[in-house]
């Protein structure tokens, strides 16, 4: 009967490039689109176009994992990991050693 809330969240986390973007934004918060593109290429070897990264950021923003702040012609992207809390609230993590 439950409505499976948070579909956007899992959809956002489902792509490897988007997960790398989260890693990158956590390492250095508040980057612009061009900065993210450059650092993804430099540090992770990802050769994605600007438009591809832009679409990924839109998905992350819709999931609430990224918030944006416009300033002039720049748009800064900030991470917000709080939506991840709903995952461990939905399926409480067992105590014990990892597998």
């Amino acid at each position: 009967m439950s409505v499976d809330s948070g579909a956007d969240l899992f959809k956002a986390l489902g792509d490897a490039t988007r997960r790398t973007i989260l890693d990158e934004l956590i390492d250095r918060d508040g980057q612009t689109l061009f900065e993210i593109c450059g650092r993804l290429t430099m540090r992770y070897g990802l050769a994605s176009s600007r438009q591809a990264i832009s679409q990924h950021l839109a998905v992350l923003e819709q999931a609430g994992l990224v918030h944006t702040r416009r300033q002039g012609r720049y748009k800064f992207h900030h991470v917000d990991t709080r939506p991840l809390r709903s995952i461990v609230e939905r399926w409480p993590i067992d105590r014990g050693d990892p597998p």
Copy 2:
């Protein structure tokens, strides 16, 4: 440079039916494939075929979220939420009120 470990985990969580299967197995652990099929139909209104559910369970097992135990012609499925811990370890959750 990080290798994005846990791709199987996020792939498994990316599908709504698989998330519902996790819900169902947490509610009643150790079900067989046919039990899961029946209860998904009854309680969640999902009309998926047996083969579809079987493939979903294989994905969940590959992600380490479900372990199986054979006994005669039955195969019991057990949840293991410990892989979820890697998510909050990768992206620590901020303190503060939810959005």
